[in-house]
Each structure stands twice: as C-alpha cells, then as structure tokens.
Symmetry: C2
Subunit: 182 residues, 2 copies
DNA sequence: CCGTAAGTGAACTGATCAGTTTATAGTGAA
DNA sequence: TTCACTATAAACTGATCAGTTCACTTACGG
C-alpha cells in the first residue's frame, strides 16, 4: 500500500456509497430515489451497495445522521459562547436560519416529516442527531446566563423551543407554501 | 327516488368517492394510498372514480382542500372576536393547538410537507385553503385591537406568524420526534 | 503467482400500482 | 320499449422498483 492511511474497516467503497446516496436522496427524497440511481451515482454496483447496507432505509438513516451531525458540529464550533448575550443569541439565530433555509435543511426536513409515518425511527434519530444537540446547547447556555443574572428564564426547555420557533416565524410557511425559489 | 334530496350535479357517487379518498389518504398518506384501496373504501369501481377525477393527485387536492376549508370555517365560527383580548388570543391559540395535534392536522401536514417537492401546487393550495385564512383573520384582529389601543404591534403579518409559531413551540418537535402516541 | 476477498454488470424475481379498456348491467326519462 | 347515461367488475398495460443471484473480473497480500 503506497500510503499508510488506514481504510475504514468497512471496505474500500463504503464512503463512496454514502456520498452517492447523499446526493441522490437529497435531490429526489426517500421514495423518489431509486437504489439503481444511487449505485450509479456512487459509481458502484448494486450488489456492492447491498453488501454494505442491509436495505434502503438503513442506508438513508446513515446518510441523514452523518449529514445532520456534521451540520450540528459546525454550528456548535462556529459560535463564541463567551460573547455578550445579545450577540450569542443573534449568532445562534443566524445559524438556525441558515440551516432551515439551506438545501440540505429543507430536503431532510421534508423527507423526515413526510416519511415518518411509515418510518418512525427516522424522525427520532434525525432529531437526536441534530436539532436536539443544538437545543441542549441552548438550554445549557440559558442556564449559565441566568446564573450570571443576564437572562431571566424559568422553563429552560420551553424557552429553547420558543426561541427556535421564533427563528422560523417568517420562513416556515414559505417552505410549505413553496413560493421561495430553491 | 325515495326522498326528494337533490344530488350534487356532479353525479350520484361523487361525494362517496371523496369520502373514501379522505379516509384512505388520511390513514396511508399520498404515496401510500393506492387507488384500488380508495375505490374499495368508497364502495365504487375504479372506472367510476376516474370518471370523476382525472388522476390521483387531483383527487388528493380536492380532499385536502375540502377538509382544510371545513376545519378553518369551524375555527372561525367558534371564536367570539368581541371577547376581551386575552380571551380571544387564548381561544385562537387553543384552536391552533387542537388543529396541530388532531389526527387530520398531523396527517395532512406530513403529506403536504413530504410531497411538496414532487407536487408543488399542493403545499400552496393547502396553505391558501386553510392556514392562510386563519392568518388573515388574526391580522385583521390585530389591526382592530391596535386601533382600539388594546395591543401594540407594528408588523401585523410577522406578529401573526410569531403567534402561530409560539403555539407550536412545545408540540412541534414531538411531532417530528414521533414520541407522542397517536 | 496464486488464492482470497471485494467488486461488477446484467439479468431476474416478485411485487405494486396508476390508469385504461371492455363487456355488461342498472336506471330514468321520453 | 328504447335511448342515453352512469356504473361495475375484472382483466390488462406498461412501468417502476427493491432486493437477489450468478458468472465473471480485479486487486492485493503472502
């Protein structure tokens, strides 16, 4: 082997499959994406794909969780939690708006909402691997700010939810309404 | 004909089809519902169904709009707009929460969100035939209340959106999260 | 250079489903 | 009765798609 990099023990083309799946799922949705298309996009045979992932759902969950965790990490790293309260809250709001309006944010949200009747773990796992991390951060931050006398909050969880909802106020209907261009 | 009721000019079984479609769509979603099932539930042949509606999408839109308008009318009729501000806002909030947590509300929301990529008119028409009516009412009410010095609002549309979003604060994630029983 | 494991492509299975067609039957009015 | 309309059941078309199988090829480590 030319270089000393350790292949993820999963097999040579694991990441390739994941990346192809990401592309196709994000552009066609879950039901809309065909496994043949994914295999083609990944530059991999269908048999190979199925040697890594037991079925389409599992593959999708993997994609959603991976991508979601990435996004959440980015948000958490970006924000300077020691700035003045007003700035911190503003930054968090901006990060949320960015996510909600992003291609990925919109797609994954649609897929999770739309598919979660026939595919209940999906919604849960999606929530846990992304939004919930942010929410927890927000709760922590609120607690710290209250302890320092900078904010006045009694129900931290509710406050975090409300903050999140208010960030969406003007955006959300436009998403369902479908009037904003991609 | 035993009784003198006037059938809607569309044909004898029009409403029957609509009702069957309502049941099946609401319980299986759009993609999940098969036209055969709908015909069966409606007690009608598939050919008859297709003589009323050009295709599955159109049928679904009809169902969604009908049901949505019904719900919105109910909400508007129920609320006494002349009660004290606090009571009116409370009533509206209750009505919103009821809708969001209702079987129908959850289902139709999921379907609209999930399907609106491949089916963009759907989201728009849904929004216009339901949520937008409520929103407009809310804006009207805000304007009246401000004129009477009972509220202080500058951006009425934004206020209406924010009010709506705040009603969902604690509920919404649980819907995606999928932890509340039906 | 040989053996093993990973990968390939293409055909195949079995199933679902939207929408059409056909031959047939009931129904109401003239 | 007869005409026109509405409805029906069932078969059919044409398409899609998840997941499997198989005969074959690469690539790599020892």
């Amino acid at each position: 082997m030319p270089d000393g990099t350790i292949e993820p023990k999963k097999g040579r083309k694991f990441d390739q499959v994941l990346e192809g799946a990401r592309q196709v799922f994000l552009s066609d949705g879950f039901e809309g994406a065909s496994v043949d298309d994914i295999a083609k996009a990944a530059g991999v045979s269908k048999a190979t794909l199925y040697s890594y992932f037991p079925d389409k759902r599992f593959l999708f969950m993997q994609v959603a969780k991976t991508e979601c965790a990435r996004q959440a990490d980015h948000a958490i790293e970006t924000i300077d939690m020691d700035a003045p309260v007003q700035k911190v809250l503003c930054d968090i709001a901006m990060e949320m708006v960015d996510f909600i309006t992003s291609q990925f944010g919109k797609r994954i949200f649609r897929i999770c909402v739309g598919e979660s009747d026939r595919f209940p773990e999906l919604g849960r796992e999606f929530y846990e691997s992304g939004p919930m991390l942010i929410r927890n951060r927000l709760v922590e931050y609120f607690q710290k700010a209250v302890a320092q006398g900078e904010l006045n909050i009694t129900d931290f969880e509710l406050a975090a939810e409300q903050f999140h909802e208010l960030c969406k106020a003007d955006l959300f209907p436009r998403m369902v309404f479908n009037m904003t261009e991609e």
